[in-house]
Amino acid sequence: MDKTIRILTGYVIGLFLVFGFYVVIYGHILPGEGFDGGMLIASAFILCMIVYGKDVARKRLNISTAITVSAIAGLLLIFMGFLGLFGLREGHSFFLDNFLPQGDPHYLFSGGIVPILNILLGLLVGFGFYALFGYLVVWRKEQ
């Protein structure tokens, strides 16, 4: 890409990442949640890969690292669901039970396990879609 897009992308990528993590962390009190913020995080890396080329982007964040982070986040998401089965709250034992104290609405530290699930989902979607795009661009058929 030409020089204008390169310089502008350098400024924009940081804003993309900050806004993505903002949407993820405030997912339980504002519109948008882990999936949307994760997509913003992924789009920052994908913009880097389109503008600067795939080698620069792979040097910043390796594709195998991205898919490892995504897989670990997904497994932790399922693990948080199964924690609800152990009856940590009196009289409630089902999948994805909200066993943490729930706090006051409209505050950041509220909602029980929902913010944790949002952050895990954001990592899963963000790094997962970056890895998906990377594999679609980089992958070659072995001769």
Partner: protein, 113 residues
């Protein structure tokens, strides 16, 4: 006033369609598809808008006028899914650029039916 806003979202949709069918650069076609998506999203967000309303979280002592929560739940999902489609399109564009060395669809002529 609200009619003008609705018409502007329809205008955005039509600009996107014009961009898709008239441009010959692949990246501009992708941008056109995103503009179509934004037109639809803007229309749904405006359907849920209400004056002097608060976020749809019902607690003790909160006011009783809420905006429609359905677009607020649906529109981010729609935007994200369309972004996933854009990822697929961009990956295809990069593959085509590696093979043909151009983004111009009138020069990519090896595709026979």
């Amino acid at each position: 006033m609200s009619t003008i806003i609705y018409l502007s979202s329809i205008l955005l949709f039509l600009i996107g369609i014009y961009c898709v069918i008239s441009k010959e650069n692949l990246l501009k076609i992708v941008i056109g598809v995103k503009i179509i998506g934004y037109g639809v999203c803007l229309f749904f967000v405006l359907l849920g808008w209400k004056k002097d309303a608060s976020a749809p979280i019902i607690v003790e002592g909160s006011q009783r006028v809420f905006v429609d929560p359905l677009p607020q739940a649906l529109i981010p999902a729609i935007m994200v899914i369309s972004l996933a489609a854009v990822i697929l399109m961009l990956a295809t564009c990069i593959r085509l650029y590696e093979k043909y060395g151009t983004f111009d669809i009138s020069k990519i002529k090896e595709l026979h039916g």
